[in-house]
Symmetry: C2
Subunit: 422 residues, 2 copies
């Protein structure tokens, strides 16, 4: 394939650098959903799209669509994109890489004088990181008409202002978000492709630059769970009289870990994480039996059946530990997302292009959630392309080699260039 398509590494590097400089929040970057950093990134993409002559549209929820028109604009088109928000003090690549990849691919086609039959829309999705609003896939669900109306009242974790208020402050139209209002019709899409850093250590460990994702884990979550026991004096209350919240929680976590190990041994894929845990500094003391402890639980799997098994086990363990220790678990609201199986044919096409381009890749599952899951579950042929990264994600040390990014973007651009793709 000597088709003149060449991803401009300097173009991508310039955009990454510009984002890093202007959204720095040491350590790392902060691009709050519907906040300053995210909006800055949207403006950068609009400016670049204008220079490339792309058509621009912003939907009422603030998702941005930058379209390189095809020779036959009536045909269902491609959407290539990702999100532009970041976690607080996160890395520069999580999300933004997928939007910059779309622009870099379109730019390479344009510069090579290639005008495919189908239109290609680069999509900058709002609010994927649920640190800001405790909602999964906020922006992509809003685009596809899948965000419930009541989500608009959700307060942002840092400002306390509602999603509705944050949208209004950016001049968006929250009255047209929710209640099934569709701003991107799945039936009008030929396919959705997202490039994203892997966020885990697998590609780095396997020394391969590209991962073609087979499926995206779903989850169940308890973000505000508590164990309620009884406060007491650490020396004066004998073991038999205690209702120790921390010991009870330790028992739950240890039992969940054993359950997890057993499932993996059976060949299931799952993750179980208690990312936050804490006794209340206003109440606790080193000489007090802890009467309460807060925690959260995040369980993920590609398999809905596996999620259900873990949830059943959680309920059994909670009941057993309550009976054994006298504490009470207040798990709070359950949230979660549905696992997504990605399109095997589209993945095979990407694999074919990667082989032809001599780009190293493996097929792998994604334990992390991505907007691709929303498109896949809405019936859109969807693909997720991972780029090897170093130092994990959601932290300031997140890294990605630009040559790996270029290799993955090159594969996507060559797929988009083909008129024969179905």
């Amino acid at each position: 394939m000597t088709d003149g398509i060449a991803i401009d590494r300097a173009f991508a590097e310039r955009l990454f650098d510009e984002l890093a400089v202007h959204t720095t929040d040491a350590p790392g970057v902060t691009r709050a959903a519907f906040g300053e950093g995210e909006q800055f990134a949207h403006e950068v993409m609009k400016r670049e799209a204008a220079m490339l002559g792309l058509a621009q549209r912003v939907d009422p929820a603030g998702n941005l669509y930058l379209t390189y028109e095809g020779r036959d604009p009536a045909l269902p088109g491609w959407v290539v994109g990702s999100h532009l928000d970041s976690v607080p003090h996160g890395g520069n690549f999580d999300g933004a890489a997928g939007v910059i990849a779309g622009l870099a691919a379109v730019r390479a086609l344009s510069e090579a004088g290639i005008h495919p039959r189908r239109s290609i829309t680069v999509m900058a999705i709002r609010a994927e990181e649920s640190n800001w609003f405790p909602l999964s896939y906020l922006g992509s669900r809003a685009a596809l008409g899948l965000l419930p109306q009541e989500s608009l009242a959700t307060p942002r974790s840092d400002t306390g202002l509602s999603l509705r208020e944050h949208m209004a402050r950016l001049g968006l139209d929250p009255t047209r978000v929710g209640s099934g209002q569709v701003h991107l019709d799945p039936a009008g899409l030929h396919g959705f492709i997202e490039l994203h850093i892997e966020q885990g250590p697998v590609l780095e460990a396997e020394q391969v630059p590209i991962g073609l994702v087979t499926g995206i884990s779903g989850s169940f979550r308890y973000r505000k769970a508590r164990v309620l026991g009884e406060w007491g004096h650490s020396g004066a209350v004998p073991r038999a009289h205690r209702r120790d919240a921390v010991f009870a929680l330790a028992r739950l976590i240890t039992a969940l870990d054993a359950c997890w190990a057993a499932l993996l041994a059976e060949g299931e894929t799952a993750t179980i994480t208690v990312g936050e845990i804490g006794t209340d500094p206003a109440l606790h003391g080193f000489s007090k039996v802890p009467g309460e402890v807060a925690f959260c639980l995040d369980v993920r799997s590609l398999s809905p059946a596996c999620l259900a098994r873990i949830h059943d086990e959680l309920m059994r363990l909670v009941a057993r530990i309550e009976a054994e220790t006298g504490v009470r678990f207040a798990l709070g609201e359950r949230t979660g997302s549905t696992p997504a199986r990605l399109d095997a044919a589209l993945r095979a096409q990407l694999a074919g292009v990667a082989k032809a381009r001599e780009a190293g890749f493996v097929e792998m599952a994604s334990g992390a959630g991505h907007d691709t899951a929303v498109f896949a579950n809405a019936g859109v042929r969807s693909a997720l392309v991972f780029v090897r990264n170093q130092n994990g994600s959601h932290n300031p040390d997140e890294a990605m080699r630009l040559e790996d990014f270029v290799a993955a973007t090159d594969v996507i651009a060559h797929l988009l260039a083909r008129d024969d793709n179905e």
Copy 2:
């Protein structure tokens, strides 16, 4: 024994009420060591002592001595007392009850016209609650010349000001505290008696007002321990790649709980408490594998051998969990105190008086630490008298029935009245 000795319930009630009103810090009371609330309580005791005609002395560390002179003041005398500080938002009785009991007993002797051979000194001890300064038995050790010089540099947990500075602000003389300077000579004491609320549920469960304490637990403590793992994405990092600080800590706690249960089954007495636990809200997240968690550990037993066994097991578990999970434990500084066996003869005398006065009592160990331990370990014949209490201690709901307090104080007063006691 119709000797005219009658504890004045109204006198005690008035003093308790005055303390509660003036040191209220809703919920509960706060009497910070070397702070406003503690000082207020000292002033109240001085005023009452003046009205009773007692001799007053304040040592350089701020301990207060109020002496009802005996017929033979050259004889070694009794010290009856406890501390006047409280934990933050604590209860009104923990500590103060023992000082008020001393005054009420002396007052009852005085009003009955009884002047025993031996002098009786009511002692108000400083800074027993180690929430303020992380030092065990600060005031009583300072009185007996057992507080190391370097303790004076310890910052108070709330103000950050050193113990030296806090003493100086109250007009005390920190230059004369530490370095073995003795302000209360153990050789000059006939015995030490402390009345204290039980702080645990045992007397309430046994429906007995008084506990005569056989021994006071010693302890080892790690107040600022941490588990250091590796931060990661909760979905993207597989189990085998994780170094999860919270899972590792849960494993430690669960194993310590099992060790504890086994020791109790062998007949040992001990408590194991993890009173504080927490991931850092500035770093953690529900979608992050936790890379660090802080905790503290408080282990108590009447038996030095049992403490050593638990510490050995802790070291074994830490090494094993580090090897199994790849985390590292940073336990920090180890502190602790020595168990104290209390004087059997003095306890038998108190038991004899209690029987004669028809006051219900049991013998029991104290899991909580008390200043009595310092006196006992310094070779002073020592007794600790527990009063039944409700709702535990170190919390705003702490309670004590005044009739139980009066019954216990009555036993102490009758013991002090005896000229035959040796």
